[in-house]
């Protein structure tokens, strides 16, 4: 039994890699999961562009009003009016381009969507008997769950990055505060939120033996989690009941944090610290819950 002294984490990468292999060996599924956020981006971000709604190009001053100003005053006034759209956008969304605002929402949405599938893979493994086989090997129960969390996290981070890359030709504009280093900060946000979310969905499905359960959970949580967040609209503009949900939704913190790093003109570091802390605690608590549940419930 000399190999008993092995690390408690052995098998973690093997199990994670198993899931990742299934994913990159089936590019169709991978491409399909990208289509939805891209459609959102194209439709809502580009076709129904909110920035064009608040533009002032249709505003002309009545002639009798214009005659009361000197040409210099008139010049200043028309400049004020032509900037009004950008000012409103900047004030409401923190950027003049709505598609940039929404693209960050879609990055987080992709993370949510991908992690939801991690719940399904637990059920599949149980149904197909793989879980039983893994449980009869010396691999730790926590590792079985962590490998699922980790693979979902890596997958989500990759897909979210693709969304960012696709958003650029669609009109995504980086903010004034953006430096390439901020990308690392974005990855940190994605890593934390994906850890938390995939732990959540795995914990929900850990006892389930039927594939319908995770599907129902996905349908139930998908829309509320997306719309009760700052994905499409700033929280401040929401009705108070929705605001209450959105302000506790960790996705909102993730999106707002990523917006600071990617599209805003300046970064408020104390806000950023709160955003990291909130998402970090969310991730830590749920991962811990997932591991505790795996100890309790993987063995019946």
């Amino acid at each position: 039994m000399n190999n008993l002294s092995k690390s408690k984490l052995h098998g973690l990468w093997a199990l994670t890699n198993r899931e990742l292999k299934k994913w990159y060996k089936a590019p169709t599924v991978f491409i399909l999961t990208l289509i939805q956020p891209v459609i959102w981006l194209g439709l809502l971000g580009n076709a129904l562009n909110i920035s064009s709604l608040v533009s002032s190009s249709s505003i002309t001053l009545p002639a009798d009003l214009m005659s009361q100003f000197t040409p210099t005053q008139l010049g200043a006034l028309s400049e004020f009016f032509s900037n009004i759209g950008d000012t409103v956008m900047q004030g409401t969304f923190g950027t003049t381009s709505y598609i940039s605002f929404m693209a960050v929402g879609m990055i987080a949405f992709t993370a949510l969507f991908t992690t939801m599938f991690s719940g399904m893979s637990v059920v599949w493994d149980r149904r197909l008997g793989f879980l039983n086989k893994a449980l009869s090997t010396p691999v730790s129960r926590a590792v079985i769950i962590l490998s699922k969390v980790l693979s979902a996290t890596l997958r989500s981070m990759f897909q979210a990055s693709i969304i960012l890359v696709i958003a650029v030709p669609l009109g995504f504009q980086f903010g004034a505060a953006f430096t390439p280093l901020n990308i690392l900060g974005v990855f940190a946000f994605l890593f934390l939120i994906c850890m938390g979310l995939s732990s959540l969905f795995i914990a929900i499905n850990i006892r389930s033996t039927r594939i319908e359960t995770p599907m129902a959970v996905m349908n139930l949580l998908n829309l509320p989690l997306t719309f009760a967040s700052s994905a499409f609209f700033p929280i401040e503009q929401m009705p108070s009941w929705l605001q209450a949900v959105a302000t506790v939704n960790p996705l909102s913190y993730t999106m707002n944090g990523m917006r600071q790093l990617l599209i805003n003109s300046s970064i408020n570091y104390s806000d950023l610290a709160v955003q990291y802390a909130y998402v970090g605690i969310f991730a830590a608590v749920l991962t811990a819950v997932g591991i505790v549940l795996s100890w309790r419930f993987l063995n019946k």
Binding site: L4, R18, L128, G129, F130, N132, S136, T209
Partner: protein, 333 residues
């Protein structure tokens, strides 16, 4: 190390406080033997295996594998055993080779060792030429062989096979039997298998336990169990309708005579020797033997004797068992 590879004492599993799947069973498996767990579907075979391989926690009682307690020393147990499950658990999207290496990683075997072992095992189960094909292209027999290879990757001292030939055609089943026999011969390992095929248990197992409704009914070698029935069965029919029971009972080796459907069912220790004696004795008395058959008892008769029903009947009345399983599956989540 103890002489017993597996020892179970009062092992019990109750699901959800009411459904007794395994009911206080005691048995021991000696080192190096093939031990068969025989019983109809739903008898508690898989539940017993799942407890022994540390996947299910026993509700009551205890068991030890190679002296390691399945509850308290489960890590040591897991390192010492191999499992070939009832289902095909190999990942369909991966190749056979990748699947074996994955199993090796679950035991923390270094890549250097595992690549060599995987090559040997693929050779053993004759999958070397298909090792880089995805498992979804494999036939049922190939998958079963791959499961076997995966179960052997950690050089287990005790190998558990849960219904190793379930759903396989006759040829593949025979081939699987050969692999199992070879494993015992080459590696000298202890094998614990469940089956509901009587002929399989008869052909492979050194000792058999018959389990029904969660209880072990009888344990013994196939020969012992068959002998316990009272030997071979000779069925004789004569032309005239006279009672010959008393006459036959006096013949050497005959243990029991019963009249059934117009013919006589005779139990005897050495059927081959007794049969001519019976014909001889009857002819002397002027009775013309019209038909005679000699049957060696199979485990089917053993099963019938001990459970009061044939395996087939037990499976047919499986409706209730099926319902029981559905309840179990439903309650589990």
């Amino acid at each position: 190390m103890s002489e017993n590879a597996i020892k179970a004492e009062g092992l019990t599993k109750v699901f959800n406080g009411s459904l007794v799947a395994v009911d206080h069973i005691d048995f021991s498996v000696k080192n190096g033997e093939i031990f068969g767990f025989l019983g109809p579907n739903g008898a508690g075979k898989t539940t017993t295996i799942n407890m022994l391989i540390t996947v299910l926690k026993p509700t009551e009682g205890k068991a030890a594998i190679l002296g390691y307690d399945i509850a308290k020393q489960n890590t040591q147990v897991r390192y010492s055993i191999g499992v070939v499950p009832q289902e095909y658990t190999a990942d369909e999207d991966l190749t056979g080779y990748e699947n074996i290496l994955l199993c090796a990683d679950l035991y923390g075997i270094s890549r250097k060792v595992s690549t060599r072992r995987a090559a040997d095992l693929l050779e053993l189960v004759e999958l070397t030429t298909f090792k880089d094909k995805k498992v979804q292209t494999y036939s049922g027999g190939m998958r079963r062989r791959l499961e076997l290879a995966c179960g052997l990757i950690n050089r287990p001292k005790v190998l558990f096979l849960d219904e190793p030939t379930l759903g396989l055609d006759v040829q593949t089943r025979a081939a699987t039997w050969n692999y199992i026999k070879m494993l015992k011969k080459e590696f000298g390992m202890t094998l614990f298998m469940t089956t509901h095929y009587l002929e399989e248990a008869d052909a492979l197992c050194d000792r058999i336990a018959i389990i029904d409704h969660g209880k072990i009914i009888v344990v013994g070698t196939p020969t012992e169990l068959k002998d316990s029935l009272g030997g071979d069965i000779i069925t004789v029919a004569i032309k005239k309708d006279v009672d010959i029971t008393g006459l036959v009972e006096k013949i050497e080796h005959v243990k029991q005579v019963k009249k059934e459907n117009g013919s006589y069912v005779i139990k005897s220790a050495n059927g081959e020797i007794t049969a001519p004696l019976i014909i001889e004795a009857l002819r002397k008395e002027g009775h013309l033997v019209t038909r005679l058959s000699l049957t060696k008892p199979t485990l089917n008769e053993v099963y019938l004797q001990y459970t009061g029903k044939s395996m087939r009947d037990a499976e047919d009345s499986g409706d209730s068992l099926h319902a029981k399983r559905m309840i179990m599956a439903r309650r589990r989540h």
